[in-house]
Amino acid sequence: MLIMERDLNESSRVLTVQEAEADAYDVERVRADFPILSTQVHGHPLCYLDNAASAQKPRAVLDAVRDAYETTYANVHRGVHYLSERATAEYEAARTKARRFLNARHDNEIVFTRGATESINLVAASFGRAFLAPGDEIIISEVEHHSNIVPWQMLRDSHGVVLKVAPISDDGELDFEGFENLFTERTKLVAISHMSNALGTIQPARRIVDAARARGARVLFDGCQAAIHLPVDVQDLDCDFYAFSGHKIYGPSGIGVLYGKAELLDAMPPYQGGGEMIKTVTFEETTWADAPARFEAGTPSIVQAIGLGAALDYVTGVGKERIALHESDVLGYATQRLSAIDGLRLFGTAPAKASVLSFTMDCAHPHDVATVLDRSGVAVRAGHHCAQPLMKRLGVTATSRASFAMYSTRAEVDALADALESVREIFA
């Protein structure tokens, strides 16, 4: 978050007072854009704090999806008719938006997938097959989501690569020395989450890339959380792959992005076979289309991609830096309120973190906590957060997790803290 604080200081120097006021983040105006936020749950206003699992959708996305179905829907890249041309143009416009969002160099470096899980599976299957030999090594970390563990285990089992796990510190940061010690001349890929879904801790992406580059290894970032909360510039990071999901960044589910450097994507074999990904097909031989079409076999998630484009426009329109500052304020307030609750233990307390508070209470299991909170309208996640090895590392079976978004408020944090007090009343 330091980067953003610096940005704020720099921008506040050039703003007049009036401009600064006009620029103030109006969370109520943002909330008004999300129809679902006015829902009542069990007689209480919805307090949606499960954003790391999936975020709610602004009207701009809902309208874009509806509008696409009502006015421009047809299959893409096939028909010469009017609607197909329009649908193709919209679908490709969404690709351009995703490219700008990550500051990739070319549109053809953006592959649409079903989500980050498919993005990572694509790299494991395609890059793994083309570039990794038995005995080659991949480094992941203890903090990973299952989606950045299991595809590599499958590659290990099918292809004989070696999986190494970089340690993290007790507060959820990458143990950088431990990480660097894992490199050997066989290390070919580092696959690490840019920001932890379970803890919110942010890993030092630039240092990771530098360490890998120095030893000739490629780098994939699981950017599911980071793409929402942090500035991401894949050229500046110089990573080889970057994956994120649409539904966590206020877009539809069923759409995700894989950024890959052009020279890598061009050299990688297809992931799935089918329509769209070919140049010519005979029964004897098929030649592949160029990236990204090569990796988009079959009819893609057309409308979902258009919806994702609208979500990226929406986030960019409000301003990622301003959103991050707002979320940082809410996270700071939540950290302070929850720290004051008896018997509550926070996980992932490293200073570099964003938008996620993982915790346990000594008097109640996370599932009981979540049930009591739900009856107050407060939605949190309870469980292992698809990161069972991390839970084991932290010595717990599960935690409760409150995760914040651009529409989260201090009042919601108060509702969470009050509901946690009633957990204590029942169980302590």
């Binding site: 069990h42 007689g43 109640a364 299991h365 996370p366 599932h367 009981d368 049930t371 009591v372 009856r375 309870a382 469980g383 292992h384 069972q388 839970m391 079976t397 599960a398 009633s422 009343e425 029942i426 169980f427």
Partner: protein, 160 residues
């Protein structure tokens, strides 16, 4: 606190959740199985000691989980002591219907021998109002049934 929360977390449940009965390794085991709820990561082990006369001499469990799953396991071990396998199966059916059956009151005709136990287990009926928590309540029972049937492991995702 809302009424359905009060109904779910009754004193008896909180008590069994905090001070589970028969939470121990048994001296002798004829049947055991491992139960797993992959949704929350809860795991428990149920141990049965069935005598030559077909009566359950001892039921114990090990593991940890939420208040509902621990209380349910604890209550189960109490009501199953001294029962026949058929009675244990009937209690399973009743309990399952109570937690997850389509309609309340559809439970089968109850053997008078286990009527008191069926009544006792009613304390967990509040879970009906919490569909996401039904599996917490039924985990121990599914595991017990698996143990009886000679299966070593059961997951709540395999059963309805």
């Amino acid at each position: 606190m809302s009424d359905d929360l009060r109904e779910l977390y009754q004193e008896v449940i909180l008590d069994h959740g905090k001070n589970p009965r028969n939470l121990r390794q048994p001296e002798e085991t004829t049947h055991c199985a491992h139960g797993h709820n992959p949704l929350c990561g809860d795991q428990l082990e149920i141990f049965l000691n069935v005598g030559d006369d077909g009566l359950i001499k001892d039921v114990t469990f090990e593991g940890r989980g939420c208040a509902i799953s621990v209380a349910s396991a604890s209550l189960m071990t109490e009501v199953l002591q001294g029962k026949t396998e058929a009675q244990a199966k009937a209690l399973f059916d009743n309990f399952h219907d109570m937690c997850a059956g389509d309609e309340e009151g559809e439970t089968n005709v109850v053997d008078p021998e286990i009527e008191d136990d069926v009544d006792r287990l009613q304390v967990l009926s509040g879970v009906r109002q919490f569909p996401m928590r039904v599996k917490c309540a039924t985990l121990a029972w599914h595991t017990m049934k698996a143990a009886m049937e000679g299966r070593r492991a059961v997951s709540t995702e395999d059963e309805d």
